[in-house]
C-alpha cells in the first residue's frame, strides 16, 4: 500500500527529469505507476472483499491496513486502510489515472516547455487521491484533501498566459479551500468528541456518537460543506465549468473521474454511521436535487462541447451525492455503481472532446460538422459513452440508473417527499438524456448549412484510452457481476429493506424499467424539440448567477482590505508610533487598575542631596533640549543629560557605569558633530509642526505610566534578588573582585557575546551607509599626500587682522624643518592646523592608549574592563583624527576596522568554544596562577581573553564611526560632490533626488 503511494509520489518528483530526457513520451513512463498500482489493486481485491468491513485493525478479518506512527503526542499517525469503498474509488483513481496519463503523451505538443511540471503535478495528484481514499485518519485524510486542492489549482492554471485559466484556478482554489477549512473544523469536532481520529474506529462507534446531539450534527454539517464545495454542488457549482480552462486531460481526470468524486467519497464514507444526523438529508437531498436539475438545464444551453460536459458533470454530481447519501443497501449499491459508471463514461467523453479540439481546433458545436463521418471510430467510442450517460441499455449507465430508480421507487412509498424525489430524479434523467443526445449531435452530426470541419486522422494510440473506457462501459453493462461483487461489501454496511439489491442488466418488467423507457422517450422528445426549447430558455429570465455573487463577494473583500489597509497603513511613522504608544499607555493602565496592582507605601526624596542636584541639572538639560532651535544646541543639551547620568551612576555606587557613560557621551558628541556638520544649523525649516499638544500629552502620559509601573514593580518585590550572592561568587568562582565585569565576561557572557555581535553589525552598517560600496577598509595612507593639501581654501584667505596674523603664524610653523609632532599633520592645510593641539595630542596619545590597556586588564578587579578600555582607546583615536585630519587617523590605525571587528569576534568565539575541548561548558572560565619574572605571582583568569575580544571590537566600532562620519565625509565635502564615490546603482539616484531636494 505504502509502496504504491511512495512510488507514485517519487515518480512525480523525477518526472521533470524524465520529460527533459524523453520529451512527451515520458507520459508512458508515468502512466506505468498508476497502472502498476491498478494491478496491485486487482491482486488485493479478494482479500479486501472477503474481509469484515467494520472490523478494526488487528481484529480478525480486518481489511488490509498499514499504520506508521507520525506524531504520537498529537495522536497523529499515517494510517491507511484498504476497505471496499476505498477499493471502488481506487479503480477509478488508478485505472482512469493510468489511461489519462497515457493519453497525455499524444495530447501535448512534444516541444511544450511546461509539460514536465504538468506531468509531475498530474501524477502527484493521482497519488494524493490514492492517499485520500486510503487514509484511515481524519487529519491525514484532510492533508491529502488539501494536496488535491493545491494540485488542482496548479493543473487548472496550466495555461498561465490565459486570464481565464488563472482566474478559474484561483476561484477553484478559494472555494475548495473554504470548504476544506469548514471540513477541518468538522473533522476536529468529530475527532475530539470521539476521542480518536481513526476513521474506522469512529465509524465503529458512530451509533454512540450520534446520540451526542448538536455537536455531531454541526460537525457532520461542516464536513458536508467540504464535500459540496469539492463536488461542485449548488451554490458552489460554478467553479467546475470555470475549471474547464484546464487542459482537457485534466478535466477528464480531475473533473470527471477523480477529484470531484472526493466529495462523493466523503459522503459515502460517513453515510453508514452519520446518515441519521439532523442536517444530513436536508443538505444532501435538497442541494443534490437542485444541482442535478440546474446542471442539466444549463447543459442544454451550452455551445462549447466541454461546457456541455461540465454542466452535465455538475448535474451528475448532484445526482451522485443524492444517491450515495440516501442510505440503505439498495441506495449504496446504486450510488457506487453510478460513481463507477460516471467515471467511465464522463472520462471517455472528455477525452473525446480533447481529441476533437486537438484535431480540428475548436469545440464549438455550431462550427463542428461531419466529424462522425470523417472519424467513425471516434464516433463509436463517443456514442457508447454518451449512451451510457443517457442510460441506454445495455450499457453500464443503464444498469446503474435502473438500480437508482429501484432505490427511489422504494422510498416513494414513504410519502410525498419520496414521490417528489422520484419525480425529480426522472426529470433530471430526462435532461441528462437530452444533453447527451445534444452532445453527440453537436460533435458529430453533419449540420445543414455548416461547412464540413477539417479533421485530421486520429492516431490509434491517441484513441486507445477513451476506447478502453468505452469498452468498460459496454462490458460491465452486459456483465455487471464483478462490479456488484466489488460494491456489495460496502453496501452491506447498510440495513437491507426487503430483498438484497443487485446490479443487473435485466430485473424483469417492473416500475424502474418503465421509468427508463419514459426517460428515453421524453429525452428523445426534448432533443428533437431542442430548437423551441432553446428559445424558451432564452426567454426565461435567468436567475442571478452564483458566480456573480461570488465575484461581488470577492470584490467587496478586496475593497474592505484596501480600505482597512489604507486607514491603518498610512505610511506615516508618526501615525504608527501614535497608535503603538497609545496602546503602550492604555494596556498597562488597564492591567494596573483591573488587577489592583500593588503600590508602594514607603517613599524617600533621594539617596543624597547630590543626587537631587544631579537630577535637577539633568532636568534643565532635558527642557533645554526640547526648546532648542539650533541643531547642535539640542545635541549639546542631550549630552548634558548624559553626563548627568554618569553622576547619578557614580552616586549610586556604580563606578563602571559612570566611567562607561562618560566615555560614550564624549564619543557620541564627536560623532554628532562629525555627522551633522553638513546639515543646516536650524533644526526645522518649517513652522513648528502640528499636533504639538497631542505629542506633549502622549509623552506626559507615557512618562506617567512608566512611573506608576516602576513604583508598582518596586512594591511587588517579595524575595531577595538572585544577584545578592554575585559579588562573592564573582570573587570565588569568577576570579575577579569587580562583580559587574565578571557578570559581563563570565556569568552572563552569552549576553555579551550577543551584544558585541550587534556592535560589529552596527559598525558595518555605518560603514556601508557612508561608503555605500563596500566597507572602504583600504584607506589611503599619508605617503605621497601633498603638504597642506587637505581641507584647503574653505574660507577667504585675505582676511586681515587677528585671523590674518594667526594664519601667518601657522604658515611659519608649518614650514619648520624638524621632526613633526604628528605623522600626517603636514597634510592639513596650514590654516587648519593648531600647534597646541598637535603637541598635546603627541603627549597624550600613548598615555591614553596605555590607560586603556590598564582599564582592560584591571577591569576584572577594579572599575574598567573591555568596554571602558575600548572606548578609551577610541577616544585616543578621535583625538588623533581631530588634530591631524584623516591621514593622521589612517596612520594611527594601521589595522583596518573590518579586521579589528573580525579579529575581536574570532577571539571571543574561540574563547567561548575552547572549554568544550577541555571537557568544560561553553564560555566556562579557568583560573591560572603562575609566576612571572617582573610581575611576580600572577593570577590569570581566562575570561580576560574574552574581554580582550570585547576591547578590540569596541575599538573597531569607534574607528568605523570616525572613518565613516569623519574621514569619508571630509573627503566628499572637499571634492564638492557628496556622492562622488557612489557609482553604479546609487549614481542613478542623486540627479532626481537632488532636484527634489530643492523643494521647500
Amino acid at each position: 500500500m505504502l509502496t504504491v503511494l511512495i512510488v507514485m509520489f517519487a515518480g512525480a518528483l523525477v518526472a521533470p527529469a524524465l520529460f527533459a530526457r524523453f520529451g512527451r513520451s515520458a507520459f508512458f513512463v508515468l502512466a506505468a505507476a498508476p497502472a502498476g498500482g491498478f494491478v496491485w489493486l486487482l491482486v488485493q481485491l479478494p482479500a479486501v472483499l472477503g474481509s469484515d468491513q467494520v472490523a478494526l485493525d488487528g481484529g480478525s478479518g480486518a481489511p488490509p491496513s498499514v499504520t506508521v506512527p507520525w506524531i504520537p503526542s498529537l495522536q497523529l499517525e499515517l494510517a491507511f486502510r484498504l476497505d471496499a469503498l476505498a477499493a471502488v474509488l481506487c479503480i477509478l483513481i488508478l485505472g482512469v489515472g493510468a489511461l489519462v496519463l497515457f493519453y497525455c503523451a499524444r495530447y501535448f505538443k512534444s516541444d511544450d516547455p511546461d509539460v514536465g511540471a504538468f506531468g509531475a503535478q498530474l501524477l502527484a495528484f493521482a497519488a494524493s487521491m490514492f492517499g485520500l481514499v486510503l487514509a484511515d485518519d481524519l487529519i491525514l485524510m484532510f492533508i491529502f484533501w488539501e494536496l488535491t486542492t493545491i494540485l488542482s489549482y496548479l493543473l487548472i492554471g496550466y495555461s498561465r498566459h490565459r486570464l481565464s485559466a488563472r482566474r478559474s484556478a484561483l476561484q477553484a482554489l478559494i472555494i475548495t479551500t473554504f470548504g476544506g477549512l469548514a471540513m477541518l473544523v468538522g473533522l476536529v469536532m468529530i475527532g475530539q468528541t470521539a476521542g480518536t481520529y481513526r476513521i474506522s474506529e469512529i465509524l465503529a462507534s458512530s451509533a454512540d456518537l450520534v446520540t451526542r446531539g448538536t455537536i455531531i450534527d454541526v460537525a457532520v454539517a461542516l464536513v458536508l460543506v467540504g464535500a459540496i464545495t469539492k463536488s461542485a454542488l449548488v451554490p458552489f457549482h460554478f467553479w467546475l465549468p470555470g475549471a474547464m480552462a484546464a487542459p482537457t486531460p485534466v478535466s477528464a481526470y480531475l473533473h470527471a473521474a477523480a477529484m470531484v468524486k472526493a466529495g462523493v467519497f466523503l459522503v459515502a464514507r460517513f453515510a453508514p454511521g452519520f446518515g441519521e444526523t439532523a442536517f444530513w438529508y436536508p443538505v444532501i437531498l435538497v442541494l443534490g436535487m437542485t444541482t442535478m436539475l440546474l446542471g442539466g438545464w444549463r447543459a442544454l444551453r451550452q455551445h462549447d462541447l466541454k461546457l456541455v460536459l461540465a454542466y452535465g458533470t455538475v448535474s451528475q454530481l448532484g445526482f451522485l451525492v443524492m444517491v450515495v447519501g440516501l442510505g440503505g443497501q439498495d441506495g449504496a449499491l446504486a450510488g457506487l455503481g453510478l460513481v463507477l459508471a460516471h467515471g467511465f463514461f464522463k472520462a471517455t467523453l472528455f477525452l473525446v472532446v480533447g481529441i476533437i479540439d486537438h484535431q480540428s481546433g475548436t469545440r464549438d458545436l455550431r462550427v463542428l460538422s461531419g466529424v462522425g463521418a470523417t472519424s467513425p471510430a471516434l464516433f463509436a467510442v463517443a456514442l457508447v459513452a454518451a449512451g451510457s450517460m443517457a442510460g441506454v441499455p445495455p450499457l453500464l449507465g443503464f444498469v446503474a440508473k435502473e438500480s437508482v430508480f429501484e432505490a427511489f421507487v422504494h422510498r416513494a412509498g414513504d410519502g410525498v417527499v419520496g414521490t417528489l424525489l422520484l419525480g425529480g430524479i426522472v426529470l433530471g434523467s430526462v435532461l441528462t438524456f437530452a444533453y447527451s443526445a445534444r452532445f453527440v449531435w453537436g460533435a458529430f452530426a453533419l449540420k445543414h448549412g455548416v461547412p464540413r470541419t477539417d479533421f485530421k486522422r486520429v492516431r490509434t494510440s491517441f484513441l486507445l484510452a477513451p476506447a478502453v473506457l468505452a469498452v468498460a462501459s459496454v462490458l460491465f453493462g452486459v456483465w455487471p457481476l464483478p462490479l456488484d461483487a466489488v460494491i456489495q461489501p460496502y453496501a452491506s454496511l447498510f440495513p437491507v429493506e426487503g430483498d438484497t439489491a443487485h446490479l443487473a442488466l435485466w430485473h424483469g418488467f417492473n416500475l424502474p424499467l418503465l421509468l427508463s423507457v419514459v426517460t428515453i422517450a421524453a429525452g428523445t422528445a426534448l432533443y428533437l424539440l431542442r430548437g423551441p426549447f432553446e428559445r424558451l430558455q432564452g426567454r426565461l429570465p435567468s436567475a442571478r448567477d452564483a458566480e456573480v455573487v461570488y465575484r461581488s463577494t470577492i470584490g467587496v473583500l478586496d475593497d474592505v482590505a484596501v480600505g482597512v489597509t489604507g486607514r491603518t497603513q498610512r505610511g506615516s511613522l508618526a501615525f504608527y508610533l501614535f497608535v503603538i504608544l497609545t496602546t503602550a499607555v492604555v494596556t498597562p493602565l488597564t492591567a494596573l487598575i483591573v488587577f489592583d496592582a500593588p503600590m508602594p507605601a514607603d517613599f524617600r526624596i533621594a539617596d543624597s542631596p547630590a543626587q537631587v542636584a544631579a537630577a535637577a541639572a539633568i532636568l534643565v538639560g532635558i527642557v533645554a533640549a526640547l526648546r532648542a532651535t539650533k541643531r547642535f544646541m539640542a545635541v549639546l543639551m542631550v549630552g548634558i543629560t548624559g553626563y548627568g547620568m554618569a553622576i547619578i551612576y557614580a552616586l549610586h555606587g556604580a563606578p563602571d557605569l559612570a566611567l562607561t557613560q562618560m566615555l560614550v557621551e564624549t564619543i557620541v558628541l564627536v560623532a554628532f558633530v562629525l555627522a551633522l556638520r553638513s546639515l543646516p544649523a536650524r533644526l526645522w525649516n518649517r513652522a513648528e509642526s502640528r499636533h504639538r499638544l497631542l505629542r506633549a500629552g502622549l509623552g506626559i502620559a507615557f512618562g506617567g505610566i512608566m512611573a506608576v509601573i516602576a513604583m508598582s514593580a518596586m512594591a511587588s518585590r517579595n524575595s531577595a534578588p538572585i544577584s545578592i550572592a554575585y559579588p562573592g561568587m564573582a570573587y570565588d568562582e569568577g576570579g575577579g573582585a569587580n562583580a559587574v565585569n565578571v557578570l559581563l565576561v563570565d556569568i552572563r557572557a552569552w549576553d555579551t557575546l550577543g551584544e558585541i555581535t550587534v556592535l560589529a553589525i552596527a559598525a558595518t552598517g555605518i560603514a556601508s551607509l557612508i561608503f555605500v560600496r563596500g566597507r572602504g577598509d583600504k584607506r589611503r595612507r599619508a605617503d605621497g599626500v601633498e603638504d597642506g593639501s587637505v581641507d584647503r581654501g574653505q574660507e577667504p584667505l585675505d582676511a586681515g587682522g587677528r585671523a590674518g596674523a594667526a594664519r601667518a603664524l601657522a604658515m611659519r610653523f608649518a614650514d619648520v624643518s624638524r621632526d613633526p609632532w604628528l605623522v600626517a599633520g603636514r597634510t592639513l592645510a596650514p590654516e587648519r592646523r593648531s600647534i597646541i593641539f598637535e603637541v598635546i595630542t603627541r603627549l597624550l596619545f600613548h598615555t591614553i592608549i596605555v590607560l586603556s590597556v590598564y582599564l582592560l586588564v584591571a577591569g576584572h578587579n577594579l572599575p574598567g574592563g573591555g568596554f571602558a578600555g575600548g572606548l578609551t582607546a577610541g577616544l585616543a583615536l578621535a583625538i588623533r583624527y581631530l588634530a591631524g585630519g584623516r591621514f593622521e587617523l589612517a596612520e594611527a590605525s594601521p589595522v583596518s576596522a573590518g579586521t579589528l571587528l573580525g579579529a575581536g569576534l574570532a577571539i571571543v568565539t574561540l574563547t567561548a568554544i575552547a572549554p568544550l575541548f577541555l571537557g568544560g561548558a561553553v564560555l566556562e572560565s579557568y583560573i591560572l596562577e603562575f609566576w612571572l619574572p617582573v610581575f611576580g605571582d600572577v593570577k590569570f583568569v581566562t575570561s580576560t581573553i574574552f574581554d580582550i575580544g570585547v576591547y578590540i571590537i569596541v575599538v573597531g566600532l569607534v574607528l568605523d564611526v570616525l572613518r565613516s562620519l569623519g574621514s569619508e565625509i571630509d573627503e566628499r565635502a572637499e571634492s564638492d560632490d557628496p556622492v562622488a564615490e557612489d557609482t553604479g546603482a546609487d549614481a542613478l539616484v542623486p540627479p532626481a533626488t537632488e532636484a527634489e531636494g530643492v523643494r521647500p
Partner: protein, 158 residues
C-alpha cells in the same frame, strides 16, 4: 522597598521628553528622543534595583546586602554601549538621507499611499473574459487585448 522619588521623577521626565521628540518629523530630534528614552530606561532599571550602596567590588568581610545590585548594572552597561552603536548608525542614516534628498525629515511612504488610493478594479478579478472554445489557438490571450484597452482607459489620465 522604598521608592526614590527623585529617580522616578527623572525617569518620567526622560520618557516624556523622549516620546515628545520621537514623534517629531525631524530625524535629528527623533534620534535625540531615542537617546533620552534610552537614558530613561536605564534609570528605570537603576531605580528598581534598590537604594545606592557600596560599589560591587568585592572586599572580604562585607555583608552581601551592602553592595549595590550588580546585575542591573551589567544590563545598563550593555545598554549604554548598544545605544552608542545605534546612535552612530542613526547618524549614518541621517547623513545619507541628507545627501540623497536634502531632507532631515521622516518621509511618508508613498507606496502605502498608493495602496490606499487603489482602484477597486483589478484586471485579474474583473476583466471580461472572452469565451474561448479551443486550447490550440495561437493567440496568446484573447482577453489581453480587451484588458489592455480597458487599462489604457482607466490609468491613462494619471
Amino acid at each position: 522597598m522604598t521608592v526614590n522619588i527623585t529617580l522616578i521623577v527623572l525617569m518620567a521626565a526622560f520618557f516624556a521628553a523622549g516620546i515628545y521628540l520621537l514623534l517629531e518629523r525631524s530625524l535629528t530630534r527623533v534620534l535625540l528622543g531615542l537617546i533620552l528614552l534610552g537614558n530613561g530606561a536605564n534609570i528605570l532599571i537603576l531605580a528598581t534595583s534598590g537604594p545606592s550602596g557600596r560599589s560591587p567590588l568585592y572586599t572580604a568581610g562585607t555583608p552581601a546586602e551592602e553592595y549595590t545590585d550588580s546585575l542591573p548594572q551589567a544590563l545598563i552597561l550593555t545598554a549604554i554601549v548598544i545605544t552608542f552603536a545605534v546612535t552612530a548608525f542613526m547618524l549614518g542614516i541621517i547623513y545619507r538621507s541628507w545627501v540623497l534628498g536634502r531632507v532631515d525629515d521622516v518621509q511618508d511612504d508613498p507606496e502605502d499611499r498608493r495602496v490606499a488610493d487603489q482602484d477597486s478594479y483589478d484586471y485579474e478579478d474583473d476583466a471580461d473574459i472572452i469565451a474561448d472554445t479551443t486550447e490550440f489557438s495561437e493567440a496568446e490571450d484573447p482577453s489581453a487585448a480587451a484588458a489592455a484597452d480597458r487599462a489604457g482607459r482607466t490609468e491613462g489620465p494619471r
